[in-house]
Amino acid sequence: MSRAVRRVVLVDDHDLFRAGVRAGLEKTVEVVGEAGSVADAVPLIKDLDPDVVLLDVHLPDGGGHAVIMQVAQERPGVKFLALSVSDAAEDVIVVIRAGARGYVTKAISGQELTDAVHRVADGDAVFSPRLAGFVLDAFRGGETTADPELDQLTPREREVLQLIARGYRYKEIAARLHLSARTVESHVSAVLRKLQLSSRHELTRWAAERRLI
């Protein structure tokens, strides 16, 4: 399958890590710019207007969410994909809520990251197994309390998320559930939307219950 080359800006404060990502990405993704801080990243992204920004959750002068919030208004076409070593749910949820289209851990292979960039560029969501786990956790409480504030997951969405958490790829999930790959994509995008639209209060409560904040 031939794919259009996607232009990517890489935002991470570790030179070594940026070099590693650059080397690992395949030919269909071109790194057009790099930044190591929020202050450098914001004007750079506005200037280059890339397809996708690979964004570290932690930056020395603020979090990845700060970059999204300063850029998204002016450059609505730019998609963000969070990339982090952090294991902490609150770090991840914050960038997702700011508008990132997904979250992958830094242990991801170059090929998978390339795939993820294309998927995000096409407007889809990218869930790593860990993010799927966090999201299932976030919506779990709602099962019994049926809080109207938090849009519930449909059984199908839950099923898809569980398979992602188990380490299945989208294509494998589609085959397993007898769905088209597009349908799996749309389920995942719907979950992301619910996560981003759910009331702030609800997620705060969720985080507080897990002693995250």
């Binding site: 902490a88 197994p129 299932l136 019994t144 958490a165 188990r166 380490g167 299945y168 507080a208």
Partner: protein, 357 residues
Amino acid sequence: LSSFGKLRLPFVQRTAGDDRVVAGVCSGVARALDVDATFVRLTFAFLAFVSGAGIVAYLGAWALLPSPDEAQLGRRRHVSGLLLLVWAGILTLGGVGLANSLVWPLALVAAGVVLLSGRTFGLSEKRARLVAFVLIVVGIVIFAGNNTRGTASTLLAPGSVAVALLLVLAPWAWQLARERERADLAARVHDSVLQTLTLIQKDPADARRLARRQERELRSWLYPDRASAAEGTLADAVESAAAEIEELHGVRVDVVRTGNAPLDERTRALVLAAREAMANAARHSGSEEVSVFLDAGEEGISLYVRDRGAGFDLTAVAADRRGLAESIRGRMERVGGIARIESAPGAGTDVELGLRA
């Protein structure tokens, strides 16, 4: 012209997170001062023995410090907090041995000086000056009346020793706490990170396993109660089993989990069966990554072990492969659980273990 706003300590907040014990006062103060919370707690505890001053001071601070979700304190809380702190100060001075005849005049004069220095507590400037004047005069009169025949030694002897001791020891204890923290960090980096880097240079073949072990150790140290589950729980046991398999076989075992459960006979069997499934994946699949998903809810517990490796033909498994039959199926069945194994050559293996609640 109210000056109440000025008295707020904008940088000190009570904390609400896991490091709070009662109301988050000590950890809040510790955070603002950038010292160990234990040090602040010990200080409050020590003051508590000084005629209860620590307790009163704590209550005062509780009232006076906003919690993270409070924007503005009420006037009543502000005043009561201040009064409690003043009371605590008086108790402390009395407690370390200063005679009452000195403490009360001191408090009155101090209040007068504060009023004169511009904090008018809502009074008009003229009236504030008048009140200050009265306070100072009354303070001096009481002092003079009580102590015309007293000598300096009877007033100060026991107290001054205690105060001097505090002044000398406090910065030292502070310094000690900070240095211990730094030494701890240096030791940690030396013992683990530097050692690992040295080992990797000697034997690059082992780099992956060493790096992964290092990553795990650093994570559990950096995020003690975020990244790893509470000790003695199911999730904790699953994570330890995954770590052991990584260590033994040099593959990456990623654990994702939602929910948790206590360890009992049944969940222990589940962990052992899961460990066996992980070991099989690591040994036979040839895949460098094994995914584990633990889903512990009210309806029951499911645990999945998935690899994307060689897979195998289930019907062709020799009867003597005890791993699958005994260690996984038998173990689950004995505790009333189920084990489902899906595999096909080239398609990887998926093991599902289930326990009903």
